[in-house]
């Protein structure tokens, strides 16, 4: 009876020891990985235009003002090109007038 109690105690002790070891290993592994996972977050904190998960630059949605500015710039360039061609109406200029 005493021997059986001794065996059970030993098994319990061994089991607890294994569980402690496994728990400690997991915690240690998590602690080692922590700097790797923290790096993208720090990068994101440095630059708000980066993804929190993968640290890649975000494809930001353009604002209305940006679109209007771009449109006005493009229309200005296009109109200037047309007006230049019309102000010097040589055969070559007029031939290029409709080239897009």
């Amino acid at each position: 009876m005493a021997a059986l109690g001794l065996v059970l105690g030993a098994v319990l002790f061994a089991g607890m020891t294994v569980m402690l070891w496994v728990g400690y290993s997991e915690a240690e592994k998590a602690r080692e990985e922590e700097p790797l996972r923290a790096e993208p977050l720090q990068a994101a904190a440095r630059d708000g235009d980066r993804c929190l998960l993968c640290d890649q630059p975000l494809r930001r949605r353009v604002t209305r003002t940006e679109v209007v500015d771009r449109l006005e710039r493009e229309i200005g360039i296009e109109t200037a090109a047309v007006m230049r061609a019309l102000q010097q109406p040589s055969v070559e200029n007029l031939a290029r007038l409709y080239d897009a």
């Binding site: 209305r64 679109v67 229309i75 296009e78």
Partner: protein
């Protein structure tokens, strides 16, 4: 430059004698605007014709951008250029909007007295209407070229 000199250097009144310019000038007044102020809105009645004396005026049309309408500038015009020529041509409706691109000074001519003078004084009327035809013709050519270029782009993109 005096208002009379500004008028005679403008695209609409170029070719008038000094005396003729004075007669037209009597109908007009100066209007000063701060940058960003509206000169006129699309769809309004064209009851006044303007000549830019100083500064720059932006012409704009409405475009829906990201779901909301915006006034998009497509042309800026400076000293000597005419604005709101619809005042001289029925149905006298403005087909675009204009706002001051900078602080600017305009010469403003009310439609009815101006049309009456152009009718009563054939030489002034001929000079002004010839200039108007040249300006409108040039703008038509610009618009045509811009439109054809856009069509060309569409064709090239669709039928590759």
């Amino acid at each position: 430059m005096t208002p009379i000199e500004s008028m005679r250097a403008s695209e609409l009144f170029a070719g008038l004698t000094a005396e003729e310019a004075v007669r037209v000038a009597h109908l007009g007044s100066e209007r000063d605007l701060r940058e960003g102020e509206t000169v006129f809105r699309l769809g309004a009645e064209a009851d006044t014709l303007f000549v830019v004396r100083d500064g720059r005026v932006d012409l704009a049309f409405p475009l829906v951008v990201l779901g909301e309408p915006n006034d998009v500038r497509f042309q800026s015009i400076g000293p000597g250029k005419m604005l709101a020529w619809s005042a001289l041509v029925p149905p006298h409706r403005l087909t675009m909007s204009a706002r001051a691109g900078t602080d600017c000074s305009l010469l403003a001519f009310p439609r009815e007295p101006l049309l009456a003078l152009l009718e009563a004084e054939p030489r002034i009327g001929f000079v002004a209407m010839s200039n108007l035809a040249r300006v409108v013709g040039a703008r038509l050519q610009e618009t045509q070229a811009l439109w054809v270029r856009e069509v060309q782009r569409s064709v090239s993109k669709t039928y590759r």
